[in-house]
Symmetry: D2
Subunit: 367 residues, 4 copies
């Protein structure tokens, strides 16, 4: 099922950048979860472009919920959210219908869809599709919050500038979720923005690393083999355009440590088991251990740059040069952050429903 | 399906470290693929411990194929491979039935299986289960080889020592597949082994990074969203015990680049499209572009170390100290390499069968 | 994935009878399939109520395709079709928010959704959701037709009156697909309609058996065990509300035969293998044999009847009597027929794509 | 996943009739379920041929559990059961390597596996594979029994002779499960056996209908659409060789009723809701209603008969006559009954684990 992910709770995405709408179906969510339209709008606003560090395309992201919600609460049946495309300028894309943009999926789309793909604005490959994930993920995040589970993501690094590390995960998450540009060290934010603007001036773009923490998630969830928590989360994260790496806890840094450093010592206090460090990112043997789940996603620089690039005409297979026009983001990492949060929320709801049953996330039974 | 992975071609694993056997069912493979028992044995030999840098447990890995092969060839029906456990010393593990080994799944297994888990040798969480993946993956690798597709993995780094990078991918893969200790720079191998032995002497362990290259894989395979090639491969890789990070192409390093550097320029020559660099690791928009598929897995240091560690008794929840005895690997990265190769082979066969049909890997039709 | 079905090609349905819209996402269809909006409208018209033998609810079923179609052809990415609900009279349903209608899902919905379900008009359980399947199935049917594969369904029996059997399957299918009320023996149609009207006058309803034939489907498709063609088709058919039985070929009648009668003798002529009879319905060992695929679905009488019925108030759990008002169908079998056709088309496309690859249904490659 | 079925709890089957062994992997079962080897042997004995009404092939079905059981209880990890093939006479099958047996999968296997299939004894298509389902299903049945859920199947009809209907479902189930030849009316058993023997004398075979009842299953389980309880059970049942029809409750008979008869009136007594009749077979809108789940499977007559039959040589495609030799069953319905029970047990465990979580079937928590 190519555009559907999940087992007990699933997300199906659809839509093209310049088609009538993009959207998502969120299925299997427990009934009775309050659907706060303002919170959905708030989450969408965090994905929307803002100022000089984003594209000038201004989509209002006015969403419609066309199924699965009744009297302001989830019914338990599939929730469908539609976000119409409004500020579309397809004229900008006439040239790229033949010239493959480096770093984009134009050429691979041609190989897979044989010329029938909607090439305008990247079509189904557009990051715009992720707006639907944000809207659906907002409902999942609300369900988790009612269970005391919180998710937050920061720009661990951007354009080579590093944010500070998580310290008090829960407090840090709360702070991040109140921010539009999500860094823990407020003094670093402007430096990152300066670098993004500097790249924009050069007709270039930057990337970074997003780090996500989840607090309050139960221990004992996940599977030893193919549905390890790492497997499932990474599967989801690598579907987000621009993600090229995923690591849990200290991840690649663990590769250079000795076991005596890498192993998290275990301790108990008043019947509660924790680890002294959290280098494993809250997962041992594929199963959560009760510590915060921590993982990072490498976000490559936006491939749409204004500098002239070497490429081919994918019909004639002749060599060519490409100078992009149109409206493009010099960075998407600050926008991708809420996509990571939202998709994580959906995946965690699924893991909980698989482990504890389909009513687990229902706030209360009103029979 | 917790212990099964795949769509058109699937792998199901089972078994415990100290139970009667471990094994795997490989289903959906095309009929007619020659099953070379010597090649399976060769691949298994690359996973077996060797010398001072490995555990002293000496399993011969004598495998039995109990279904799906007839007259030396695959029938098209499920292939089941059993590897009996023979050199088992369960007495070594009496202590750990209550003390959670840091970095292991003992505590999380307790939370998930409530005391019913087979704790001996890590039970189902043991790396030993991966021997079955190697045996099944050998058949997949043979099927791919017949199509001109080759897979090779090297220790990109181990204990902080770096191997050289892939240069001519196909030649490098051939060289790696002839080696027991898979490094491209033969002079570096001894330095790595020295570091492993040094850690062993200290009662400690080391990790590293495995980098895998795939040559000859067709372009146009994969999906734009949830079944992106990165999603599917990472899902599989994160199921291998000890993997804590996965990245494609330049992965996390892309996060620090500008787009003008990160984008792979595209070129055509004689109707063949390639990219000038391969920072994307052969995948754009979730779909293969015909360049080598390149990805890396972070392998944490073996958690079984002899140094005294802080932990808890997971029944009484009291604090304790643990000094492991028994036979343990000071490093598993050199053994994990063939597990990565083998699981990759299975996943790639599945991607091909989904894209081109279930007969695609059949050597010839003999109707 | 509760509301999604399929492996290579999948269908996701959503919506409630009295919500803003119902719809479906059809994913995995090959690119390049012409999307004939008039044919979709024609198929939807066969599901729409007509005259005295149907409900008076008059939905125009004006559908919108909001993704996956570009320049009149499928792109290969998910196709989403929305059908707004317009002629909604929710006031009719105030009483049933507490009294469980016998034969409906009111009581079981209460147990599963704990009072949060949209009870109006059956909510997500409404047959109305099947309109989205018809719209999506029309695209699948066009893809099959281009490959010479045709599907047709007749009312094998209705209200106890039997239609004649399939004779020349292909010609019969063509005839059925031109009809609104699908019976092979045109003289029998009026007798069935009379019986439906007679039941309607009595405030009652009738059921029947739908029989489907598929011509031109390739041999060698399907799986020996869990994805037998019978398994997959029956899984889909039993999701259609009102289907309570599914049989292949002679089905339950085979149970009373001896093997010498039940076995279809095999014959060859000019290199083409056929069976002399088709009691197996075109499937042996789960795999198609090249004969027409023939199966039947038992359709129970519409549960919405005007006669007074015993039931319970599902909140108070007190006994009660229920006399339905509102607009209801005295029979839905004549409308369900196109739902069976359409869902069959989707399932068959999926089986073909799994067997022969995702490009198999693409009309032509235009690279 | 062709040979794997299930979502939270899955069954994977493998093996060929004349290969080394057949077997199954049962994954996702809760930990702590006592594994009663004698009960498994008892269930297997009900599938084994007995006397003149069965094949003379005498397999002892000595099973080995090679994973997932520790100290006599399930661990929660995959349970693998192997049943070696011992009484194999492959010489009997030399002729059928080219002549397709009518009613068997020989010809369709050739089309799918292109000559590489293990043709001996039907290979993977053999009913023998179902022995593994019986062994795995025994564990599932024990888990259900501990929850007060019982399953029983009778020969509703065989060779045209009808058994009496279920009356007190729970008592009837208990009686059936103590029988080798499962009929409710003990006087009818001999008449059926006589008919089977009579067919055997004629070199012919008979079929029948199996009816299954499940008592004690919770209400509110199942899904409104594609994973309706009927969809999931029928999917599983149609994977059993020889099943050509599945119906729930009154099934096809509902097609001839009026709604006022077909609808089950609902009543409540002391807070417990039941239906006055159970024509729906315990399922409304895809979801269980708390009444016994009742369904029937049409079992076609054994296709292996000694009478001369018309067929083709599937290599040369020439016409031929076939007179089977070897050991064959004149009926398999009395043996298939335990296969239906066992597969039903597995499917029901899966439905429960999906609905109520993966610990639901665990007898007690011993943390």
């Amino acid at each position: 099922m190519k555009n559907t992910f999940g087992t007990s709770i699933g997300i199906t995405v659809f839509g093209e950048s310049h088609g009538p709408a993009i959207g998502a179906v969120l299925s299997g969510m427990a009934p009775g979860i309050p659907v706060d339209r303002e919170f959905i709008a708030l989450q969408l606003s965090k994905r929307r472009p803002a100022g000089k560090i984003s594209t000038a395309r201004a989509e209002k992201d006015e969403f419609e919920i066309i199924s699965g919600v009744f009297n302001g609460k989830t019914t338990g049946t599939p929730i469908t959210i539609i976000i119409p495309n409004k500020d579309v300028k397809s004229g900008d894309y006439s040239e790229i219908s033949r010239l493959a943009r480096p770093g984009h999926a134009d050429y691979t789309a041609q190989l897979k869809y044989h010329g029938f793909q909607d090439y305008r604005g990247g079509g189904h490959f557009s990051g715009r599709v992720t707006a639907a994930i944000v809207a659906a993920g907002a409902i999942a995040a609300l369900a988790l919050k009612a269970k005391g589970i919180k998710i937050g993501t920061h720009l661990k690094s951007c354009a080579g500038i590093a944010d500070r590390e998580f310290s008090d995960a829960e407090a840090d998450i709360d702070r991040l979720n109140a921010l539009g540009f999500a860094v823990l060290d407020s003094e670093i934010a402007q430096a990152m923005i300066n670098e993004i603007e500097s790249a924009a001036k050069d007709g270039d773009s930057v990337g970074g690393v997003l780090e996500t923490a989840v607090c309050g998630f139960p221990a004992g969830v996940g599977e030893p083999f193919f549905d390890s928590v790492e497997s499932v989360i990474s599967h989801a994260m690598f579907s987000i355009p621009a993600v090229k790496g995923v690591q849990f806890g200290d991840g690649f840094a663990l590769a250079g440590m000795r076991g005596s450093i890498a192993n998290d010592p275990i301790q108990a206090s008043a019947g509660k088991v924790t680890t002294c460090t959290n280098r494993a990112g809250g997962v041992n043997g594929g199963i959560t251990n009760g510590m915060p789940i921590v993982f990072s996603c490498a976000i490559k620089p936006t491939p749409s740059i204004y500098k002239t690039q070497k490429t081919v005409d994918y019909i004639s297979l002749g060599n060519a040069e490409l100078s992009l026009k149109g409206r493009h983001d010099p960075a998407i990492i600050h926008r991708a952050r809420i996509v990571v949060d939202s998709l994580t929320a959906i995946v965690l709801c699924d893991l909980l429903a698989q482990r504890f049953g389909t009513d687990y996330l229902m706030p209360q039974v009103s029979e």
